[in-house]
């Protein structure tokens, strides 16, 4: 296990943690006073704030870290958080950063339903309190032929699913993003059929590399990166790694994914990173790593072939793209 080293950030840019929390306390104090003047009942933190507090506490405790990007150094936080695809916030690469505040993450609950013995809708803090968090450094390869290396914080999806006891009929896992067109400007336009939906085969979902991420660079996930909880499937194109998940359903019959519905020729169900299967309109053989000039060769299964190729043994990957 390689110890992960953070890229150098000038000391001047870092707010000391004590100060950060003092500032927050001052802010919260101010807010509480204001609230107290209006309604004494609001003096106590609202239920929804619980997940933030819980997550920040856990993030502060030094998490185990696994470097799984072949020794490549992580992309800068700026590049990771200012060049995103998150159509709910707009189709421009900077839109998710600019309009990130439109995503209301507090309170947040996650529905886990379908073919599970323990179905229900759970406040995010209740989901988080059962999970051990860890850091995982993964490559991320977008279907648009750019890539990043990202230090996620999260937990294996398998842990969460097992806790809810899937039945023998659970063959696929369906994920849905929040649907909130009142706030999310992108959802007021029919670019995709909202809410965004992704699907994994149950063995893909249970694979130890498949992560539910809640943090990035040791901090709470920024909104543009899919806060407060998102999927990360490092061997598939980025669009499979659905953001801001509100619903996970285990099902027997597989529904279409949002991109499949939009254009099945271009966005297959599997969407495994494969330099030999081109997108109909562009090559997938190379990629632009953000922060680098030039192009690098795209790796089979995004460099995770050793771990995941067996999931697809015997399958014609030209056909099942």
């Amino acid at each position: 296990m390689n110890r992960y080293r953070y890229p150098a950030i000038p000391e001047s840019e870092v707010t000391p943690r004590e100060l950060l929390h003092t500032r927050r306390r001052v802010l919260k104090g101010g807010l509480a006073l204001g609230a107290a003047a209006v309604a004494p009942g609001l003096l106590w933190p609202r239920e929804g704030q619980a997940w933030q507090g819980l997550l920040e506490q856990r993030l502060a405790t030094g998490l185990p870290s696994q470097e799984l990007a072949g020794g490549e150094s992580p992309t800068s936080l700026r590049d990771i958080t200012t060049y995103n695809n998150f159509y709910e916030l707009g189709t421009g690469k900077r839109d998710p950063e600019i309009y990130g505040h439109q995503l209301v993450t507090d309170p947040w609950s996650l529905a886990i339903e379908g073919e599970v013995d323990k179905a229900g809708t759970f406040a995010l803090e209740d989901v988080l309190k059962h999970q051990d968090l860890e850091e995982r450094i993964y490559r991320l390869r977008c279907v648009e032929a750019w890539s990043k290396v990202i230090p996620w914080v999260g937990f294996p999806l398998a842990d969460l699913l097992k806790r809810h006891e899937p039945t023998s009929r659970a063959r696929y896992v369906v994920f849905e993003t929040i649907h909130d067109p009142d706030n999310l400007r992108g959802q007021r336009r029919g670019v995709l059929d909202w809410p965004y939906r992704e699907v994994l085969r149950i063995d893909e979902a249970m694979h130890p590399l498949t992560l539910m991420a809640v943090g990035l660079y040791g901090e709470v996930l920024p909104n543009q990166s899919g806060a407060p909880i998102r999927l990360v499937v490092p061997w598939k194109y980025g669009f499979k790694s659905i953001k801001s998940v509100v619903r996970i359903a285990l099902v027997e019959e597989r529904p279409l994914t949002s991109w499949e519905e939009r254009n099945p020729e271009e966005y297959g169900f599997y969407a495994n990173v494969n330099p030999e299967v081109d997108h109909p309109r562009w090559s997938q053989a190379r990629e632009r790593r953000l922060g680098e000039s030039g192009r690098r060769e795209t790796l089979m299964f995004n460099g995770y072939a050793e771990e995941v190729a067996n999931l697809y043994s015997g399958m014609d990957l030209q056909r099942h793209y």
Binding site: Y83, Y87, T91, E144, V191, R262, R281, S283, R286, G291
Partner: protein, 198 residues
């Protein structure tokens, strides 16, 4: 204001309007405001500007027909050449800032990617138009031949819109606007031709 001054002022306005985006782009580049992949931003910006100017160039003829003001005809060559300039810049930005002058890859992309081919064809069609845009060329060719040749601008604009359309991933707002404008311009041109034939 005399007619002459008005035309001069309009030509100056076109000059400023078509060069200002270059200054803006240079400014953004210099201050690092073009985002994580500045090369990509330059490619998009030059292409959008070039195609917009190409459509505006085409729109100068109907603008003249509607208003009868010769200023549009007096500035048409200038704005057409600006469109050509921006589209050449677009191609160079793609080759240099996006492909890093990697010739084998540039060739491969041209062979494999339809939208690159459409874009290249659109630009190639504009070359004879730019070369024959000067008065002497126009006189040498004869007006009829010159007019026929310069109708290629419609084909070039169409290829440009197709280029943008097929490289778009999901959000078709911009290509739809370009397509609608081009459609309106073509319809106008056909109606105008029909009226004149009578």
């Amino acid at each position: 204001m005399t007619q002459r001054t008005a035309i001069h002022a309009f030509r100056l306005l076109v000059l400023m309007g078509c060069s200002a985006p270059a200054l803006w782009l240079a400014w953004q580049w210099f201050y690092g405001d073009l985002g994580v992949v500045p090369g990509e931003a330059v490619v998009h910006f030059t292409g959008t500007t070039g195609l917009s100017l190409l459509l505006i160039t085409i729109a100068f003829s109907p603008a003249f027909r509607f208003t009868g003001w010769v200023g549009f005809m007096a500035a048409r060559r200038q704005i057409g050449l600006w469109a050509f300039f921006w589209l050449v810049a677009h191609m160079l930005a793609w080759m240099g800032l996006d492909q890093y002058w990697d010739w084998p890859w540039i060739r491969r992309e041209m062979v494999e990617l339809p939208y690159i081919r459409y874009g290249a064809a659109a630009l190639l069609l504009l070359v004879p138009l730019a070369l024959t845009s000067f008065r002497r060329a126009q006189q040498g060719m004869g007006r009829t031949a010159w007019h026929w040749l310069h109708r290629l601008v419609y084909v070039s604009a169409l290829l440009g819109v197709v280029h943008l359309w097929i490289l778009t991933r999901a959000d078709y707002l911009l290509p739809s606007v370009f397509a609608a404008v081009l459609f309106a311009l073509v319809v106008f041109r056909l109606i105008d031709a029909a009226i004149h034939r009578q």
